[in-house]
Amino acid sequence: MKISYAWLKKLVNFSYSPEELADYLTMQGIEIASIEKIGGDFDGIVIGKILDVKKHPEADKLSVCSVDVGTNILTIVCGASNVAQGQYVPVALEGSVLPGGQKITAATLKGVTSHGMICSASELNLSDDAKGIMVLEKINPGTPLSQIDGISDYVMEIELTPNRPDCLNMAGVAREISIRSGNPVKYPQPPEVKCTINSTDTIPIAIKNPDLCEQYSAYIIRNVKVAPSPFWLRNALEKIGLRSINNIVDVTNYALMCMGHPLHAFDLDKLNGPEIIVRTAKKNETIVTIDEKERILAEDMLVIADSVKPVALAGIMGGAETAVSDSTTNILLEGAYFNPVSIRKTSKTVGLSSDSSYRFERGTDRAGFVDVLTLAAHMIADLGKASGISTRIDTIAKKPQQVTISCNLDKITSYIGVNIPHNQVLDIFKKLQFSILEQNGKDVKLAIPSFRVDLAIQEDIVEELARIYGYNNIPMAFPGSEFIEFELNKNIQFARKTRSILTGMGFFDIITCSLTNKKVTEEFPSLFTSKQHPALCVKNPISEMQHALQTSLVPNMINVIATNARHAGQTLQFFEIGSIFIPKSPQEANEQTVLCIAVSGKAPKDSITTTRDSWDYFTFKGILEDYFLSLGLRDINYETASIPYLHPGRTACSKLNNEIIGYFGQIHPVAARQYTIDQNTFIGEFLVSPLLCNINALSRYTPLPKYPAVERDLAIVVDKSMTFQIIHDTLTSSLPGLLEKLSIISIYEGKQIPDGKKSINFRMRYRSVDRTLLDDEVDLIHNKLASVLVNQLNCEMR
């Protein structure tokens, strides 16, 4: 919302500069986001009266005007279409400079010399209106423009929090200034009207839903002349960004912007009855609102109806049929108090928000609005030269309630944590217009002014006290409580350890978006569920790219590799710790933290100083093994696995305690091509919850070996499909304790080895913790292991 500095000055006395005012208000919780200076010093710009307008002999679109500027009469060429004889207009004399920096000199336009310029509001930096020249009202020609009241101003953008609807108007902001300056607010008073006041002129008003509308009041104003508003009113509204319509609509907008209460003017003659019924809509009822759109109404929506049909969507927008037009003569001016929740619900459902609904849904001044209605009715009667005005017609379904809050002075100051003397507290209450209904020692009962709809409980009073006392006057204290156990949770510890190890091995930590295209979730379904369901989706996505909750971190990882490969090339290493959403049923998803890790790269050819060869499966697996070991996980097993987007012969799953904890392997060439990756890429995804089971485990010391080890080699020929994992598990389970280490020296296929077989050379290291092993003993064990392989795994010795 925009507010005017000059307008505020009329409402309350203060001596702060615009910048000071913005700072004070902001520190009081009324945030001023920006200050814009409008107008300028206007040296050499005066009021002129257009005496005569002639068509330019050479140009259709130009007029030649003679303009009285007080000291003399000037010939000025004007291109605006709205120029007319008798207008009072701003004239920039020769030698003057417009606020935008343009210097005015005599200029010849198609043979006619123009001695000055008639200005638009935009050229004077007064508004964005550049459609035509600015038209003022009768002022002595030659009067400097700068002398016109409120012409140059500062317009401030105010950003109000939703709890302060009382400041969605000039008077409310003036009240906040008055708290600081100590000067009272000078609310505008209804003008004295010259027409008759007819207390018998009335209209039946019925309220059918007292919960939704507590009071409906109105004035009837007769024989109004709908006309343009006077300059001061137009100027006031246009400065704060409203368009001037006519004297009726402008007054309701003025009442709204100055006093904060939305009013509505009906063309009384177009109301059936005429009568007013405040009720909820009937089934299938519709209304065409002022914006010419037909609205279909639901039965819980509050409408203002005449005897036949709805004429306004209560508190949101009036109907087109009964709106004030140029031919309107008799007016019904409405002021009412509507239930905020009802207005908001209707506004949301209909998809229509207005200045009016914005205020009603935040809460309006229940007790004070009738004064705004009275002000506006009398202004309309005055400006519209009415023949008669009624007295206020009130229908009250529910009386306004005085809000009271009880609080304890010690409690509210100790809540803040500062010892504010009680007389100072009471003084702040007075500035806030809280009156003390009862006081019993330190317990006070406060009556809250009706415009403060946001105050209900003691903590609200604490905030009022704190903000007026000044947040920055409150000292900084430090917690002095008893000891509370505190810890970093396991996820954080896991993430930190993972980051320190993987970044040490050259990996970059990445963060990607967890919302993705639905198609991607179909191509990369979760690895961690046996039954696939469609991914959980957002109901109101902004774009298809942020539609579904990701089921795997892999697609984002592949994208990051593809993007970086394009310009970074060479070797890439990434990991991400993030959430995936595993669909459990069509409507449910299980949120799981996973680790995604990937390497990608070609063998570098163009540098003598790079150490890495092209990535291969075993280098990647080695990294994973080192990483798992660093997490204290010693017993991870590997099995062949199959994942659609991974290489069918180079994919494994990792198991811990017989549970699958993750998959990894080389990316399938087809998937790689789809993402335009042309280098070796390996990727894996692991569940975090099993990985962090040992995160806090302390290593226990094992004594260093005292007795020597004995090594023996073993060469076998075995089926090509036999995995190392099986041989390893068979050997270690046959001889727990003495077989200290089993390593592979070589694997061979080809000459001398039958088709479908492979030869493996193992080296076994035997050691006992309590004695030196003798050769005979080792031979015995070694032969035993060999026979286990022969018998259980169908191996042949070489």
Binding site: I416, V462, R499, F508, L549
Partner: protein, 339 residues
């Protein structure tokens, strides 16, 4: 005899010094120390020396032998060193060529900030808690004193899910979840990912990271909140950083505030980053609203507390001078390598 010895010594030394390689040196050794050498001849001639002078002359000859031997050894060491030196000369490299780097990875800048924030509050005795990203309307709104038709629901654009749940718009639901399971005193921070249904551009993204913190006990005050925020600002942005609190509004706190810090770039004198105000807005906070305490079945008559929340992207952008939030999620190595 003595003159003979010293002449012999001089000859031997000259001979050794002029030996150019190990073969020549070996010849020297044979010539001067071998069985047929003059030195051996001298020893043999000892029997002709008068018996009373024999021990003294014998000692002289022995000394001569030892001296020649050690000179030959020294010369040999010298020669070997020359050989190694020549070899090393051939092995010389351009030591200014770049090293073969293993290459360290980097921690994402957002993670770095998040970790720094967690460490600061952990040092103040805050525990860390986490909560789900898929939330119910109850935890995200209702329990936080934002009823269905409350205008404050407009403050955050929400992603609603097909199943009636939503993607949390802030980490505040964790506050309720933690309080439901613990009795005061509780002092917890909740870091995590949150979502806003906003168009993606340089200033906004559909998700970001937040850290929520709260402390509930019997006598927690606004002044203590101010103290904790002041400490935090100095730890994260440097000693001497000042804070400024502005009254604000959040449905879940009362009183509410927004916290500015003195600009760490211009130290308050005004620059482009702080828009010449000298201050940077970094977080929102306040005293927990009694309705929120009630949601967690805490008695607001007995307990009170504060809560604060900050956006990690915003703080990181300020810290490093990053002007486009999308960079965080593109993960371009050229970007990530800078932190």
């Amino acid at each position: 005899m003595q003159a003979k010895i010293s002449a012999l010594k001089q000859n031997a030394f000259n001979d050794i010094a002029s030996a150019q390689d190990s073969n020549a040196l070996e010849d020297c050794r044979i010539k001067w120390l071998g069985k047929k050498s003059e030195t051996s001849q001298l020893l043999k001639g000892l029997k002709d020396v008068a018996p009373d002078q024999r021990p003294a002359v014998g000692a002289l000859i022995n000394d001569l032998k030892n001296e020649i031997e050690s000179t030959i050894n020294a010369r040999r060491t010298e020669m070997e060193f020359e050989v190694i030196s020549r070899q090393l000369e051939g092995e010389a490299i351009d030591v200014t060529l770049p090293g073969k780097r293993q290459g360290l990875g980097r921690v994402h800048p957002l993670t770095q900030t998040l970790d720094a924030v967690i460490n600061i509050f952990h040092s103040l005795g805050f525990s860390v808690a986490e909560g789900p990203e898929i939330e119910s309307e109850y935890y995200n709104f209702d329990a936080l004193n934002i009823p269905t038709y409350h205008p404050a629901r407009d403050m955050q654009d929400t992603f609603f899910l097909e199943n009636g749940k939503l993607l949390r718009t802030h980490t505040s639901p964790v506050q309720i979840r933690v309080m439901e399971n613990r009795t005061p005193p509780v002092r917890v921070i909740a870091p995590g990912r949150v979502y806003r249904n906003e168009a993606i551009n340089a200033r906004s993204y559909c998700l970001f990271h937040q850290v929520e913190g709260f402390y509930v006990d019997q006598k927690v005050t606004f002044a203590e909140l101010k103290g904790v925020l002041g400490f935090f600002a100095q730890e994260l942005f440097g000693k001497g950083t000042k804070i400024k609190l502005r009254p604000s509004y959040f449905p879940f706190t009362e009183p509410s505030l927004e916290c500015d810090i003195s600009c760490f770039l211009c130290h308050g004198s005004g620059c482009r980053v702080c828009k010449y105000s000298g201050w940077l807005e970094i977080l929102g906070a306040g005293m927990i609203h009694p309705e929120v305490l009630k949601s967690a079945h805490y008695d607001p008559e007995k307990y009170q507390g504060y809560a604060f929340g900050m956006g990690i992207e915003r703080i990181t952008m300020l810290l490093y001078g990053i002007n486009d939030i999308r960079l965080f999620f593109e993960n371009d190595i050229r970007f990530l390598s800078q932190f």
